[in-house]
């Protein structure tokens, strides 16, 4: 029993399992539990020597991140167990191979035997015992802990103190706390200058977001996963959890973080060109601190909601629009607003664009494309496109992800940048009414 958390680990369950498991598996398990951190052995050390630059900052860069959830404990336990067993199996095989290579050489004048299969009982034992041993390793040493781990992993609902819904889209996460009425978008905050510099200095390069997911430590949190476009995957290595977000379906997983801290991960399924730039950062707070955060955020969201309705100056809109554009739009439409030839249309009126008829027909229907060139549509139509996306294309519905002020700022920015000089100023109130109109 893990005394810190009161959570039953795989080892405890194996202890319970029965005579066979106790007699045969427990000694191995014991030695592992005592030496959790020693696994890969000399191969790891050899390769780690090559990776010395990274050793300086991480405690053990060639190891699992320190596990902080029951699932991660199970995983690390099983991983250590497997690798220890594998190392023994591989070691025995290689010893046989090397002995033969050294001893049974033609150059030593060794004359070959002529056998082509086991004959005596002893020879049969040599052949059959390894196979039986492997079956035992598969279905007892590994099979029993794995069974319990699978069952525990699937139990997402029992005792869940909090439900969080994570919505994936290219290339950010949106987190909602339905009971607390909190919702925010979380996207990469590493500055583009760092990414383009060629030599990043930021210690959490590509592992940092504007709004991290905040979770209570010591409580079971049920995480629901959905996706708005393609398959993404929510993965935080220290939690041992990776679950795909499949568009059109609800997936779920759970975490129970034992220690407050900051945990970092990335999207775990190839989701397009921004796949490398879709981090997950979780801040686990102890119970009182978490409650405070909830209250503050709720108040803050109300204040933000109020502020959202206030009109903004043209300069404020442009500045806010530039930042929001670079986070949300530039991954596809590019910083320059020129898009990608053949795939993502430019945003400047009069720019030439060629693509499949399927895409250009859709754009033409919306009025943004005529005679091979991009046309700037009226404000209300453009708001409609940004709020609801264009189905069948990579353009997502930003109405689900961004607030009124951000959308107003982005549209203002786009209509006054990249060679567009409409002079239009779009206020949050216009976005709000555009949302209502569509409903």
């Amino acid at each position: 029993m893990n005394s810190e958390t009161g959570t039953e680990t795989c080892a405890d369950r194996v202890e319970r399992f029965g005579y066979l498991a106790r007699r045969l598996v427990r000694p191995l398990h014991r030695s592992l539990l005592n030496r959790r951190r020693l696994t890969l052995g000399s191969a790891a050390a050899a390769a780690a020597a090559i990776s010395l630059p990274t050793l300086a900052e991480a405690r053990n860069p060639f190891e699992f991140p320190t596990p902080v959830t029951p699932v991660a404990h199970d995983t690390l336990y099983v991983h250590d167990l497997f690798l220890a067993v594998m190392a023994v199996v591989f070691g025995i095989g290689m010893c046989v191979l090397l002995y033969s290579v050294i001893q049974h050489r033609k150059s030593r004048g060794y004359s070959p035997a002529a056998f082509s299969g086991p004959k005596t009982l002893g020879q049969w034992m040599v052949v059959v015992v390894p196979v039986l041993a492997l079956a035992f390793i598969d279905y007892v040493v590994m099979g029993i802990p794995s069974y319990y781990a699978v069952v525990a992993m699937a139990n997402t609902r029992e005792d869940a103190a909090l439900v969080v819904k994570a919505t994936a889209s290219q290339w950010k996460w949106r987190y909602e706390y339905p009971d607390q009425e909190i919702a925010f978008t979380s996207s990469l905050s590493t500055p583009r200058a760092q990414i383009e510099s060629g030599s990043p200095t930021d210690p959490h390069y590509l592992y940092e977001v504007d709004n991290p997911l905040v979770l209570p430590a010591g409580k079971k949190v049920r995480i629901l996963l959905v996706s708005l476009d393609v398959i993404h995957s929510w993965w935080v290595p220290a939690f041992g959890v990776k679950q795909d977000a499949v568009p059109g379906f609800l997936r779920e997983t759970w975490v129970k973080i034992e220690k407050p801290g900051i945990y970092r991960g990335q999207c775990g399924e190839l989701c397009g060109t921004g796949h490398a730039f879709m981090p997950i950062v979780v801040v686990a707070k102890a119970e009182p601190a978490f409650e405070r955060w909830v209250a503050q955020t709720q108040n803050g969201e109300k204040a933000v909601a109020l502020a959202e309705e206030q009109p903004l100056s043209r300069n404020d809109l442009l500045a806010r629009g530039k930042t929001a554009y670079e986070t949300n739009c530039a991954p596809c439409h590019q910083i320059t607003g020129l898009g990608l030839p053949g795939a993502i249309p430019p945003l400047a009126a009069g720019q030439a664009f060629t693509a499949t008829p399927e895409l250009t027909d859709k754009l033409a229907q919306l009025g943004t494309y005529r005679d091979g060139k991009i046309v700037l549509v009226p404000v209300d139509r453009q708001l409609g496109i940004v709020l609801h996306g264009i189905s069948g294309t990579p353009m997502p519905a930003f109405g689900l992800q961004l607030g009124d002020a951000d959308i107003a700022a982005i549209v203002t920015y786009v209509r006054n940048s990249f060679g567009n000089h409409t002079g239009d100023v779009v206020q949050p109130a216009a976005v709000k009414s555009a949302r209502v109109q569509a409903n």
Partner: protein, 534 residues
């Protein structure tokens, strides 16, 4: 047996009226010519696929690198996978089947020679179709070749550019080609064996290809059907893979992996068969456990089609599904262990010598051993959440696919090169090739195991600086590994030009089998009259 080769020699000139020049290769129905075409095609695309790998490693050598744009990077990882699997490894193993199996079983040719020609000549257009969008892009049409990863997961592949359409057409062509080759091999093995070559005297390479051929026929149609469904989703408004219309993106994963997992064994089995011949030749000792190996092939073949969803543990699966796919996957380790024991039993107490084919064969046992054992950890449905799509997974499948099939193909290439060309390759260059492969390969992929365990995500164009050391080591390893392959090309050229020592009929002191009773190179037509094997 010696009377057989005497007969062939006498009549060599009468039968050897092959056409000259390009026409010989375009219209050939000769199994040896077609085998050589397959092998040259495979080696060419092995180098092309390797070039993509080097591009990937050049991009990843340090964080925030800009050798490739994210678009080009995604295209490079996709083409690396597709080219290596479909255009390098499968053609090479099919080439060995074409060249060697008729010789091994005493058949004059493949059973369906014209089909054989057609099967091969579908490959070059397929390869062109696969990379053609890259050329179109240069002229401003579309946005380049397929960029979805070789797994082509929907809905990313539904939304991606026209590269996906071209890739689907390429896969359909490759599938048709593979099905033809498979049918041909099955018919040949069942009907064309010389008198006395009963099924349980069939050389292991022929057995392993027989099962491979059945696997291909069983699973390739699933990929072709999936590809066509994807095509109709993309262009004709169907919703097989879209929840909005009642479909399911995970359906694609099932179709893909129903093909994709047996594909691993399709690549592996032929080289497992060859390995036994090579180990036996250089141990100067009969193959150990012939029957056990045949039964192991069958068991692997059957198991391989019922374990596919272990590639999908993170996609959201009920408990029963996770447990079933976990335990059934573990079962595969048992027949594979049987193979390992048979390989070790074959060299045990032999009189070993270490020519290049033997070196690669021993390297196969070691590297594939690591690949197989790390595969067991991936079978655990919960631990897999940590390994899946991390660099641990990348390292694992390169240990199985490079450590197994590619090492096996190298061993077989050096084993049969003197037989095919009639001249020896440079043993010195061969040894260098082997040792550089071993050093380069391990330096590439051991750091990837460690990076993956530490949480490094794969298929990313840029990465957190925590993983910089691993990636640097891995890239250096990959450059060594890539450069080493030029020695293979050098050796092929050396043997082909024929200025080295001529190879004897037996080539290797311990070589067994009908193919080594024929002169090197074998005459254009062999076994026009059936040899009798007792």
């Amino acid at each position: 047996m010696s009377s057989v080769s005497a007969y062939v020699n006498e009549h060599e000139h009468e039968h050897d009226h092959k056409p000259r020049g390009l026409a010989r290769w375009l219209f050939t129905t000769n199994h040896k010519d077609i085998g050589i075409l397959y092998m040259l095609f495979g080696v060419t695309f092995f180098l092309v696929g390797g070039l993509f790998a080097e591009l990937i490693r050049a991009q990843l050598i340090h964080p925030a690198n800009h050798v490739l744009t994210p678009e080009l990077y995604n295209q490079a990882i996709t083409l690396h996978g597709l080219v290596m699997v479909f255009a390098a490894l499968m053609p090479v193993t099919a080439g060995f089947a074409n060249y060697v199996i008729p010789l091994m079983i005493g058949a004059p040719d493949m059973a369906l020679p014209r089909l054989n020609n057609w099967g091969f000549w579908l490959l070059p257009p397929a390869a062109v179709v696969l990379v053609f969008p890259g050329i179109l892009q240069l002229f401003g049409v579309g946005n380049g070749p397929i960029d979805t990863g070789w797994t082509i997961y929907a809905p990313l592949s539904v939304r991606s550019g026209l590269g996906v359409d071209f890739a689907i057409f390429a896969i359909v062509l490759l599938g048709a080609s593979s099905l033809m080759a498979s049918i041909n091999i099955i018919v040949t093995i069942f009907n064309m064996r010389a008198p006395g070559v009963t099924m349980m005297k069939l050389p292991l390479f022929a057995w392993s290809w027989l099962i491979t051929a059945f696997l291909l026929i069983a699973v390739f149609p699933a990929l072709i059907a999936g590809g066509l469904m994807l095509l109709t989703d993309r262009h004709f408004g169907t919703h097989f893979f879209s929840a909005a219309g009642g479909g399911d993106p995970v359906l694609w994963e099932h179709l893909f992996w129903f093909f994709g997992h047996p594909e691993v064994y399709i690549l592996l089995l032929p080289t497992a068969g060859l390995l036994s011949h090579i180990l036996s030749a250089f141990a100067r000792k009969p193959i150990f456990g012939y029957r056990a190996q045949v039964y192991a092939y069958w068991t692997i073949g059957v198991l391989s089609v019922i374990v596919w969803a272990h590639h999908m543990f993170t996609s959201g699966m009920p408990i029963a599904g996770q447990l079933y796919f976990m335990y059934s996957t573990m079962a595969i380790s048992i027949p594979v262990t049987v193979l390992f024991i048979c390989w070790l039993g074959t060299i045990w107490r032999g009189a070993l010598s270490f020519e290049t084919p033997m070196l690669f064969a021993l390297g196969y046992i070691g590297l594939f051993g690591i690949g197989g054992l790390t595969g067991l950890t991936l079978a655990d449905a919960v631990a897999d959440q940590q390994y899946h799509n991390s660099y641990y997974l990348v390292a694992h499948f390169h240990y199985t696919l490079f450590g197994g099939p590619i090492m096996g193909v190298m061993a077989a290439a050096y084993f049969y090169l003197p037989k095919i060309t009639g001249h020896m390759y440079s043993e010195r260059a061969g040894r260098w090739h082997f040792w550089l492969c071993i050093i380069g390969f391990n330096l590439t992929f051991i750091p990837q195991f460690l990076a993956g365990i530490a949480g490094a995500e794969r298929r990313v164009v840029d990465y957190p600086i925590q993983f910089a050391g691993f990636h640097m080591a891995s890239s250096i390893g990959a450059f060594i590994l890539g450069a080493a392959q030029l020695l293979l090309v050098y050796n092929i050229v050396v043997a082909w030009r024929g200025r080295t020592e001529p190879a004897s009929a037996r080539v290797w002191e311990g070589a067994q089998g009908l193919e080594f009773t024929l002169p090197s190179p074998p005459p254009y037509h062999t076994f026009a009259e059936r040899p009798a094997v007792v």
